[in-house]
Point group: C3
Chain length 374, copies 3
């Protein structure tokens, strides 16, 4: 009972944290019809500041780290990114009234990572004085990119099989490319639908190109800022500017971001009404399950290579989180036939609040209970 007692105590403490307070505050004022707005320019700059800070601290840490330690957690991050998509493919996608492509896209977004949620987790760990490997934040892309790539590949394979059955009578959405200004399609089909059986067969043998998806993920604003921070942390001496600027402003800017995310979550709730209610169930349950699986994998790394419990919490939280910034545009371009109301609504309106409000306290409480027990 000591385990449960400790856990509940920490859980309640987390609910009072400023991070969560601002998130809920944002929801409440949005619900009350407040006209408060954080301008978009400020929002984008805050994202930049937070991820640059996380990247810099990671990069500075990596300079003096033993990178071999990172291997197993990084592998588990990749595994989680791929696994989450398949979980969605064989649960959400099988539910009644749920369109398969929408479900795959949603699972891709839930496999991808939210920089804001990760930032909230780092703050919570520091507030609880639980130490973690500073490179742990650099696990982000190891889960984010595989999840998005897997989702787009799985959707593409599904759509091709569907085409094969219907073909060659009806045109398909595969390759219908909504994005403008993009030079490479994510799937190998040409924009003209094949009109003869031989064309069709030759096309089917082509494979989904993965590199453009990886590239687009890396070029997104969130991952660029994070990786630039890591690179600057490793290659230059940014310690003075990190200590005087990025680090002290981190918590405060995070509180503003949480407010924005709370308001955004509320405003996106309406979009969920347009899709099957199963998305709500998935958006509540799946993040916590993903996080628990990742927590388990993290514990394996804990016993095998000494991965810290703080690191285990970070791995669990990034598995629990769903992408809110970089993921949606990549998915919109990669799976143009999926309905954005489904995946953005589920992620922003429910997934993120669940990850911050329940996920972080849950994994933190678990880690503290394990620490207290050992």
């Amino acid at each position: 009972m000591d385990f449960l007692g400790q856990f509940l105590q920490d859980f309640v403490k987390q609910l009072q944290s400023p991070t969560l307070g601002f998130l809920i505050g944002g929801m409440v004022i949005a619900a009350l019809g407040s006209q408060l707005q954080i301008p978009d320019a400020i929002y984008k700059f805050i994202i930049f500041m937070l991820l640059m800070k996380v990247g810099l601290s990671g990069g500075i840490a990596i300079r003096s780290s033993n990178l071999q330690e990172m291997l197993l957690p990084a592998l588990f991050a990749v595994v989680m990114g791929i696994l989450i998509v398949f979980i969605g493919r064989y649960t959400l996608a099988k539910l009644p009234k749920v369109k398969t492509v929408d479900a795959i896209a949603t699972a891709g977004l839930f496999g991808a990572v939210s920089g804001s949620t990760m930032a909230a987790a780092l703050t919570a760990l520091e507030a609880q004085k639980i130490s973690y490997e500073p490179w742990a934040a650099a696990l982000y892309p190891f889960m984010d990119i595989p999840a998005l790539v897997t989702a787009i590949v799985v959707a593409s394979i599904y759509l091709k099989k569907k085409q094969a059955k219907k073909a060659p009578t009806s045109p398909s959405a595969v390759g219908a490319y909504a994005g403008s200004g993009s030079t490479t399609g994510y799937v190998s089909s040409t924009s003209e639908y094949p009109t003869t059986a031989s064309e069709y067969r030759s096309q089917q043998s082509k494979r989904v190109r993965i590199w453009p998806i990886v590239k687009e993920s890396l070029q997104g604003a969130a991952l660029s800022a994070l990786l630039l921070g890591v690179a600057l942390g490793i290659l230059t001496r940014p310690d003075s500017v990190y200590e005087s600027f990025y680090n002290p402003l981190f918590r405060g800017l995070l509180s503003v971001l949480m407010l924005v995310m709370g308001m955004e979550a509320w405003s996106r709730l309406g979009e969920l009404r347009k899709v099957a209610q199963w998305y709500v169930v998935y958006a509540v349950v799946a993040p916590l399950v993903h996080g628990l699986i990742a927590f388990g994998l993290g514990m394996i790394a804990h016993y095998v290579t000494g991965f810290s419990l703080g690191g285990v919490v970070i791995l669990a939280v990034i598995a629990c989180s769903s992408s809110d910034i970089s993921g949606p545009p990549t998915l919109r371009a990669g799976i143009p036939s999926a309905n954005p109301s489904a995946y953005i609504g589920a992620s922003t309106a429910i997934g993120t609040p669940i990850a911050i409000g329940l996920g972080i306290p849950l994994y933190l409480g678990l880690a503290q209970a394990i620490m207290a027990g050992s």
Copy 2:
């Protein structure tokens, strides 16, 4: 003479404060045609940061306060909000060439409160090391909302009486609703003017609906941020983020805001030329008079319930201030027939600089002289 000497000395000191320096600097560079601009996104974010800080510190204080102390000052704040509108109704509105509805709207704006001016007063009090009840900033809505409600109600009653005289021959501006996206009218008349005497009589018996005005005030960006801060201060534990972010950035952001307000004041001067010059006289004299009345009421609370002299200064300054952010849109929607050039020009171009440049040093000097005398 010691009283006057002390007062003059503090007055001069205030004129050299950075707050006032930036305000005057903004006016000067605007007058010289500078192309310097503080982007609108930054301006809005600064307002948010200042009012969130004021709200948080109020909320944190209220947690450990005896709220009974707040009763009398809050009552006086309500009284001042209502009184200022009636002062304007029976002075400004009676002057030649001044349209009555314009005068009532102007009085409403001068009764409403400026978050920026209040922030400047808090900074001045801290610089002078004069203590005040931290909940004093929470007096803001107790004056702001009654002033706006009273102005809209008084204007509505005036317009109805005017209609009654002219009716039923000419259409009236009451109920002509300029705002878009608003779902409730502020006055009970329907948008169609009544065409028969019976319709007219039934309409006249309806009352002005007050709740929508109160709601719109509370939903405004300024009051939302302030009240959200108060709520977060009471209900969560935001002390760490307050100490590391909102509090240290307060003075600096205020200096930038003062610069913007100075530039804005200069650019609005032209609007005053479009209306009767009596607005200039009112905008110079009324704020100082309102502040002095509130100072007197505050002194009553000082002797009766021990309200601090710093608190008295805050009460006087919020009475002296005129709304620059939240008030104008509410008035534009609530008294659509009033001329915005009159009330916005008078408030932004003259009222606010007078409140910050003369009001704050005046009430601060009075308080210091009383302290020195006792």
Copy 3:
């Protein structure tokens, strides 16, 4: 050899500084196609914050300075501003395929000063603990304005001579005024081309009006912020807000600005391809030469009036820098027939990175070597 060794060591150290790291980082992520963006509102606010900080610290310093000391360095700043334009007029403009007006405009921009580069130099001096007169930053307008005025006057004289040869057969670009909303032309010709010889002669006798150019320079956002800061520093007591806000945020905001400038430099590289490749040569060589001349003049002031070596570095860096914010619009309005691709491309894509990446370490190394040698 000790001199050279010391110099190289400091040079390498500078290359690792966060300032340069963020600049190069910006170029790299832009080259890799990152979608990271720092919103324009943030960019403008950062410029304001940096120049206000530099101005305030200058103004606070001037309060307790012996202004006579400033005379010789200020004179040298004016000399450099004029000299740089004439260097460009008799080198770049004489090269094959280079249009004379384009070359004069480019030289004007390279004579004008970059607030960001100066800010980077001040940071580098502080990091190296090299002292300098705080008023040294106030040398900025003494070089900036003469350079822009000289460029516009020289271009105007050149175009008039060209007209005189061709006249009266072809219309000319002089006086064709691209800017909108501007009320005074920079050159005396009327917009209608003179059709008779007598009109032509009378026009030629008119002189280029200098005051509008000076005024426009002073009204630009960058110089307004700097000079307002100086004025507030001298006339008010902004020390508290300077210490709590402008000073601590300086380095961090500079790092963000450097990132933006790196991205901007990369995106402007393409523009250089449109003009003669000699611009690339000029943009690499000229800044370093300008800085070395100014360094020499600074050393004269060092021996004559005791101008500090840190001050000499600042004089050299502002001569080395080329204007990126305030200069281009002034030149666009003042020399409308010049091609902006030439001067903006050369300055932003090459001049600024050269000044920050090579100029600052070079002059800093020189100063340190002189200090070590004496």
